[in-house]
Symmetry: C2
């Protein structure tokens, strides 16, 4: 096992753990995460790269299948631009879990189903994926996607 | 967007957020997470399902590509048993990030590279994946895999 990069943020992150919040705040937290997922679904189906970028943290990482991890907002922009040139999605997200990890972190585990159109040919195929989102609360109180990975749940094509 | 299951654990999880720990504890925390990843790599290459199961929480979720999410230790056992009947892996993990999310949660972002042997035919192919692990500290202080998803970083086969 090789370790390419180790954060030095561990100590400061531990110190930044804040006091427990009231239960009604965590209801807001969950609702805010749901809104991020809904916005992502809408922007993905609309081929709306700029709206998607607004949902990511500046140092976010997008981990699309068949690609190395795309680190940082510029790499993420290029990746979605490439995706939307190649395919058009019409999918619905199903939320299996939204769980808090701390006052400032949460994860969402989802699946998505629908169709994908290959833009070059017009061919339409069924699309089914599973997703794991790590979300981070920003200083302004908004939640953004910090890490996001998906993989197909369809059987192999060959 | 459909929401199939929403945890009611939000309030209790928020209340369970504990006090900041000393910096030297977070160094231990990182080392402990590294050991989990090393143990996973070793067990994966050894086809050792029982050792892998010992690295997961009882309610863990394994999200293998080409499969729906496998929820809970029994489903996880069946999934790895199936994987090891089909293929033999010889891969190395590369750790890109290990980051704390709270005193009891951390994530690891990794890649893995090596070869996969199709047991039925003996055919060997190159294997390259990216992974996101969510790890949860247990009451005994050990860290376990709570959520784990990977996807290939190789180009599509067709």
């Amino acid at each position: 096992m090789k370790i390419t990069k180790l954060t030095t943020a561990l100590a400061s992150a531990a110190l930044a753990v804040s006091a427990p919040v009231a239960a009604e705040l965590t209801t807001d937290q969950r609702a805010a995460v749901e809104r991020v997922l809904e916005s992502y679904e809408t922007a993905l189906n609309a081929q709306d790269t700029e709206s998607i970028l607004g949902l990511y943290t500046k140092d976010g990482v997008f981990m699309p299948q068949h690609s190395l991890p795309q680190e940082g907002i510029d790499a993420i922009r290029a990746a979605y631009t490439g995706v939307f040139q190649a395919i058009t999605l019409d999918i619905d997200f199903i939320v299996d879990e939204i769980e808090p990890l701390s006052n400032d972190w949460a994860y969402a585990r989802t699946r998505s189903e629908g169709s994908v159109t290959i833009n070059a040919t017009g061919d339409v195929a069924s699309e089914a994926n599973q997703e794991l989102f790590l979300l981070n609360r920003q200083e302004d109180g908004s939640w953004k996607i910090a890490r996001y990975i998906f993989s197909t749940t369809n059987p192999p094509r060959n």
